[in-house]
Symmetry: C2
Subunit: 469 residues, 2 copies
């Protein structure tokens, strides 16, 4: 890895005609952090809408072995866009001008800087839906979602970002512009580079355009809140509902700590004495929903629900979902640092995972809050701490490592939707084994021989450990 020299800056400035090159320290500082930990100053930041200019810059970077860090709005919780080796940051949030909906093809074409919520809105205006809905969708870019293969609550019924990407325009690590896939849902022409690149966290190239699959927007939706005095009963309710042939669009769990935190933050009348609540959203035909809400009511009561709340109107419904949205802002009031994990287990292991999380909380004496997408096994254990307290952070590091190990032991994965980035790289081999990790490294090496695309991510460096302090 080489640093950016003055002669490079001049060459870069000659290439970038349609945009800007930021080299002031104050400008660069704004690009030194994301939603995770650590600050790393890039040597220069590029803003341009021109794919050709970006490709030319990648050719330069490849020739000179300068690191390239593509970036959207940097809401990443795993360090994906951090410029850990310096070099160039490509601010792709400026590429926000393409958002085309092809109604008859059920397809959207987007540039990477478009906000995910803008894709949602554009689709809905035509009676269509782009299902992936990471909680950050109102601030995160679709490009960031593609790089990280973002999930969200609707994963249960609709899958994740990758399931809706059918084509890409990509700048390879050697500066070639390639197209993968296309506008058809069925395409088996050669290897699936689309699904290889989506979720590769910017290590295999730069996504400059994407073709997204849309679906007809469901005609109606309905919400149910079920209150439980036992986490295990809540888990059973989830299984019962799915086994009854009902596939909700969302099934979100909040444990007692998150209920209390939200209620302290903004009183919404949540049942603070409950051990868990499940928030369920159904979508589809109104007649089907009516019947399914009735069945869910019966099923939850049959496994010991304390109470079922069915909102009477859209305002009450919105209030229930507001409770779930407030968990993150509410818990950071307890202590300043929030470590949001996304270890994911097979659905049936949710009760066991909850049990193990409580043990880890007690063992390391940490403040742990559990909520998340229970319907698809993707919990969010959040540790609330203070990053200035070194002693506490060491306990937190040990707890995080044990959460990862537990998820893998239960047949799950390190990361359901946040990505590996910087934080989870040291744990990759534990999940994948030496040979599995080796096959990934080979792809990286042969696509990016000079290791210029987002270097320092995903693949652990020798002796690399989790460090949060």
């Amino acid at each position: 890895m080489k640093a950016v020299k003055q002669k490079h800056i001049e060459e870069i400035q000659n290439i970038v005609k349609e945009g800007r090159v930021l080299i002031d320290k104050s400008d660069r500082f704004s690009y030194s952090f994301d939603g995770s930990f650590g600050t790393f100053l890039p040597d220069a930041v590029i803003q341009t809408k021109s794919v050709e200019e970006l490709a030319a810059l990648v050719k330069l970077a490849n020739r000179e072995q300068i690191p390239v860090y593509p970036r959207g709005q940097s809401t990443s919780l795993s360090g994906g866009p951090l410029p850990v080796k310096g070099g160039l940051v490509f601010d792709l949030s400026v590429m926000n001008d393409v958002l085309e909906i092809y109604e008859e093809d059920l397809v959207a074409v987007v540039s990477p800087g478009v906000l995910t919520s803008a894709v949602h809105q554009a689709a809905e205006q035509r009676g269509l839906m782009y299902p992936p809905d990471p909680s950050s969708s109102h601030v995160s870019t679709i490009g960031g979602n593609l790089a990280e293969n973002s999930g969200g609550p609707r994963g249960l019924k609709y899958g994740v970002t990758k399931d809706y990407v059918i084509g890409l325009e990509v700048i390879t690590p050697e500066g070639e512009i390639i197209k993968t896939g296309g506008k058809t849902v069925k395409n088996v022409t050669g290897y699936d580079l689309t699904k290889l690149i989506v979720g590769s966290e910017g290590t295999l190239g730069i996504i400059t355009k994407a073709i997204l699959r849309l679906i007809p927007k469901p005609v109606a939706s309905a919400t149910v809140m079920a209150v439980f005095n036992s986490l295990v009963d809540a888990g059973s309710a989830i299984s019962k509902i799915l086994s009854a042939g009902i596939l909700p669009s969302k099934m979100e769990l909040m444990d007692q700590s998150s209920i209390t935190a939200v209620e302290n933050y903004e009183p919404l009348g949540l049942p603070t004495e409950a051990e868990a609540i499940i928030l369920i959203e159904l979508d589809g035909h109104p007649l089907a929903l009516e019947d399914e809400v009735k069945k869910i009511n019966e099923l939850c009561h049959s496994v010991g629900a304390e109470e079922i709340r069915i909102p009477k109107n859209k305002a009450e419904e919105a209030e229930i979902w507001r409770a779930r949205k407030l968990v993150s802002p509410a818990i950071v009031r307890i202590k300043p640092t929030k470590i949001s994990e996304d270890a994911t287990v097979p659905r049936s292991k949710i009760p066991q995972m909850c049990q193990r999380l409580q043990e880890i909380r007690d063992k390391y004496n940490i403040h742990l809050v559990v909520f998340g997408h229970a319907g698809d096994g993707n919990l969010h254990p959040n540790i609330i701490c203070d990053k200035n307290d070194k002693e506490e952070m060491r306990r937190v590091e040990q707890a995080v490592a044990e959460i990862f190990t537990t998820a893998v032991e239960l047949g799950g994965t390190l990361s359901g939707e946040h990505g590996i980035g910087l934080m989870k790289a040291p744990f990759m081999e534990m999940e994948l084994g030496t040979a599995g990790l080796e096959m990934m490294k080979r792809i990286k090496k042969v696509w990016d021989p000079n290791n210029i695309m987002n270097p320092g991510k995903i693949f652990p460096e020798p002796g690399q450990k989790l460090e949060l302090s």
Copy 2:
């Protein structure tokens, strides 16, 4: 590429303790063809259920540079399993002993030799569904479906095989056993090797186990047949239905040639004077279906449907779908050779594609029948001919090449669901471009440095042309 020598046979026989090694010419002949063209005799055929034995054989083959051809039931229409360079065929249809359903996890674990229809049945017995349903599902193995990323009529609503594979056990081309993905729907730990290997047509490794995602089985289904005197009106009906927020599980098109062929084969009372019929299947909640059938009736009439048939009972419903199933057997009665293509276009281009197909039919004076999965743009233009008629086959070759070019010109793809295999390799670069194809080749090279896994497939050899005679 090296041939198998006597010393290799002895070493192979020493490795294979739990299965059989077939070397008689008559045995090997049964493994020399598939559902496409050409016969190629392998040097030996291996049947074993042992993953360790298969891995040891791959190590041997890699050391000695002997080609390895994995194979299921060989229903491939693109030449996927043909042992074009001799060497070893691995008959994975014998690995049919694992078919486990994990109801609470909504997951199935299967070995590659299990028939796809057996997966369907096992899931349905538990109130679940494995959605991908290639037309060959009663005879094809799940392993073959995985290798080719099979589609089928339900692609419209439910996607393709790949969308339901969340984990694999794979023998790499160097004989290592790796695991990819797992039992969780959300998993972003490293590159998505699962979706890279599914659909790679046996060129990147041998799938020895797969974890499939299941969904709750829809409670009910309904069928509608719509009859049109114009192909364009049929296309409009499809768009109208989708824009109305209705997402059928199947939307199949049959043109006049296919209607007539079926009616001559087995009189089912089909409207032989119609230019096209659309067969629609809906699934979901019974109350929703009732309403959607009514809407489809209105929408089809509004764009000029001649007639709508709604079956009164399950027997009438079965008869409608039987008509669609009979297209393939019916058309081979016209002439002995059937070339089944699967060029796929964006949904909105279906009427244009139909128009172009009629022009190609007239230009080359061929017998062309068009049917297929119109709802997702995946048509099946079938050419009926006689492979012994050299002059006719040359016209057919030109027509096939023009079908491919047309699909790509209309923004579509060479292959929606049959795979590239041997037949479409010469057309890869036209769709992917030089740089795109190069990035695929790099993955092949670095995973399989000795090119032993299914050599001769996907990637065109210098000067390779389509040959059907």
